[in-house]
């Protein structure tokens, strides 16, 4: 091929300060992706040989097989050039390495990689895989009739399965996200998208195809494969949960048992080197979303069980940090069990969240047999921790509310709620919050009934 493309790439990278990914290049120049990859490679070689002024940064896509916890998995990662050798050495067998992108700027995170491809793909949406090397004869657009039927099915199935789905996604994505959201080192450029040979969740496959470079979503595909197997685990607790409040503790153990087996899966995602754990913990504290509030703790729990020896090294010095992590746990460990735990982060649809909120499941309901329900509300708590650092955590909190939204009834319930919560959950934090809410509601209603009393109280004090 003639060398005009080298000038083109030079112009894009140096003059226009663009990020040139192989996908963007293939769509822009109208060439097959493999050609685009080779073009980038040649350009990089040429520039490196010349050693001319401007420094170029490159990212690579590495994929290969590695053995983790006894199972072979296929890992696909986008890595910075500096980390390339490191990652290669960790793979048992390297299947492919190619240049992912070339840019002048040293990217701090992988967001711009995705943005670069977004518009190019959007313009060519109908034939965005025209130049791609991935082919599947069975993948054809559905006819509108089929589409309608599928949509109807989804709507019908949604109330049944959505309970288990979000729960699964949480736990699956949890540990994987822990490794994904590290501030330095692994985060950003290094997204491990391990795709095991077993089948994948269709929804997440689609998102993966769209968001090639986005680590967070890529990470989800891997755990999704275990979704089917684990749905059994979560199906049972859901039923038990409905029965009494006592099983909550048993369920937790069950879930833990389930999660220990999960950890085999989750650990493929997790940082292998210990020094990242600290940054992860910090990251976990700072970054907060409902999902993480729930599932990171389970992820942490299982990790603690399994990796207690490696963690103990840092245990003493990390004591303060560990304490921080434990705090959110009491809130959410019970929530893991409830099938309608909140769904995964931003990339996922908001609609799922709304659906989940509409159907709160609670043992409260069964206990009291009245129209009290518990719903999960996203609350953001900012507090100063021991070291005087400000910590903001967002978490789903269970909040009692009555269907009829009757204040009067609300006043009698909160105290019952807090008592039964004490029994079943035995966590101080949750109690505190509910008590606060209970107190808020109680005086609200109390004021109505005993207004005169408070006024007289004021005068008496004088």
């Amino acid at each position: 091929m003639d060398d005009l493309y080298l000038d083109n790439i030079d112009e894009y990278v140096n003059d226009q300060n663009k990020i040139v990914t192989y996908k963007w290049l293939s769509l822009t120049l109208g060439v097959h992706v493999n050609t685009a990859k080779q073009m980038l490679y040649h350009y990089l070689e040429q520039r490196r040989k010349e050693k001319s002024g401007a420094t170029l940064h490159a990212t690579y896509l590495v994929s290969g097989k590695c053995l983790e916890n006894g199972s072979m998995c296929h890992k696909v990662s986008v890595v910075r050039e500096e980390k390339l050798e490191d990652i290669k050495s960790k793979l048992d067998m390297t299947v492919s390495i190619h240049v992912y992108s070339i840019q002048k700027s040293e990217l701090k995170d992988s967001g711009p990689l995705y943005s670069t491809d977004y518009d190019a793909v959007k313009e060519n949406l109908k034939n965005c895989n025209k130049y791609s090397a991935i082919r599947c004869a069975a993948a054809v657009p559905v006819s509108s009739g089929q589409l309608q039927r599928a949509q109807e099915k989804v709507l019908a199935a949604a109330p049944d399965t959505e309970g288990s789905k979000p729960g699964l996604n949480d736990h699956m994505a949890a540990a994987s996200k822990i490794s994904v959201k590290q501030p330095k080192g692994i985060m950003g450029m290094f997204s491990s998208k391990a795709t095991p040979k077993s089948e994948e969740y269709s929804k997440e496959v689609k998102t993966e195809q769209k968001d090639d470079a986005s680590p967070a979503e890529g990470a989800k595909t891997r755990p999704s494969s275990k979704a089917d197997a684990l749905s059994k685990f979560f199906g049972k607790p859901a039923d038990k949960n409905a029965a009494t409040d006592k099983p909550d503790k048993n369920i937790k153990e069950e879930v833990e048992g389930a999660l220990t087996s999960l950890s085999a899966v989750s650990k493929t995602q997790s940082h292998s080197s210990p020094e990242h754990k600290q940054s992860i913990k910090e990251e976990l504290l700072k970054k907060s979303s409902a999902v993480k509030g729930d599932s990171k703790d389970t992820g942490n729990k299982t990790k603690r069980l399994e990796q207690s020896d490696s963690e103990d090294e840092k245990g003493e010095s990390q004591k303060t940090k560990r304490r921080r992590i434990k705090q959110p746990q009491p809130d959410s460990s019970d929530d893991e069990v409830i099938p309608d735990s909140p769904p995964v982060p931003e990339p996922q649809t908001q609609s799922l969240e709304n659906e989940v909120k509409k159907e709160p499941v609670s043992h409260q309901e069964i206990l009291e047999g009245k129209r009290r329900k518990r719903r999960r509300v996203l609350k953001s708590k900012t507090f100063l921790d021991d070291e005087g650092c400000m910590v903001t955590e967002k978490g789903y909190e269970s909040e009692s509310y009555s269907e009829s939204e009757d204040d009067f009834k609300a006043s009698s319930y909160p105290s019952e709620d807090s008592v039964s919560l004490k029994q079943s959950l035995g966590k101080r934090e949750e109690e505190k919050k509910l008590k606060e809410k209970g107190q808020k509601k109680a005086p609200a209603a109390a004021n109505k009934a005993t207004k005169q009393a408070t006024i007289f109280g004021f005068f008496q004090k004088k």
Binding site: N17, K18, I19, Q103, K104, S105, E106, L107, K108, D109, S110, G111, P112, Y114, S115, T116, Y118, D119, K181, P183, S214, A216, E282, E283, K286, K287, S288, E346, P347, S380, T382, M390, T392
Partner: protein, 215 residues
């Protein structure tokens, strides 16, 4: 095709909303990319269908929101000529100024759905440009702070001083030290033109960032 004029305040509000949302994202991103604050306080969020970095620190977020809340009325009336994010070193002398020049055409003609998705695309491009601006700028010295300046008409300034849009959040006339930069270099980043707004983003950078300039 509907033709709306500036007097159609509803539409003016829509444009102001879009711009203020965009400016919020842009300010957060500038703080992230230029390392004004440690990257640990930022988390990935989604805006315009792409990942962006937004801070989680409540006071910082509140400050930025309050700032833009006060700027919004100016944009509505098309009185804000420029919105500038100034990054200053320890001695409170500007090292970098990200200048958003905003102009809105007096007569707006909008078509149907394509308009807003087109604007979104343009804003996405500006965001992307901010993400890679570190390639064309020198590194900032440590310990930088930032502030937001608005260039507007004198009458608007007096109004802002009279009417505090947000309590305990006063706007003051910026002093020369914050406005003028020594030996500025101009680096254009992005220009965007659309039916509802024209925006230009460029960076004024001080030639010597690390040095302490003699008074």
């Amino acid at each position: 095709m509907t033709t709306l004029t500036r007097q159609d305040l509803n539409f003016g509000q829509v444009v102001a909303d879009i711009l203020c949302e965009f400016l919020e994202v842009a300010i957060h991103l500038i703080l992230y990319v230029r390392e004004v604050y440690p990257s640990g306080i930022f988390q990935k969020r989604k805006k315009y269908n792409v990942p962006v970095q937004m801070s989680c620190h409540p006071e910082l977020n509140q400050y930025i929101q309050d700032t833009l809340h006060c700027v919004k009325p100016l944009i509505e009336k098309n009185e804000a000529e420029k919105v500038v994010v100034v990054i200053m070193d320890r001695e409170h002398r500007p090292v970098e100024r990200f200048v958003f020049e905003i102009s809105q055409p007096p007569l707006l003609s909008i078509s149907s759905e394509t308009l807003l998705s087109h604007v979104e695309q343009l804003l996405r491009a500006v965001i992307l440009k901010i993400s890679v601006c570190d390639a064309v700028l020198d590194n900032n010295p440590p310990g930088c702070t930032f502030t937001v300046l608005v260039y507007t008409r004198e009458s608007a300034t007096r109004n802002m001083e009279k009417v505090q849009v947000i309590k305990d959040f006063p706007w003051i006339v910026a002093d020369e030290q914050e406005v003028l930069m020594q030996e500025p270099r101009l680096i254009p980043l992005k220009t965007m033109t659309s039916d509802i707004v024209k925006m230009q983003l460029y960076v004024e950078e001080r030639a010597q960032k690390g040095q302490r300039n003699a008074a």
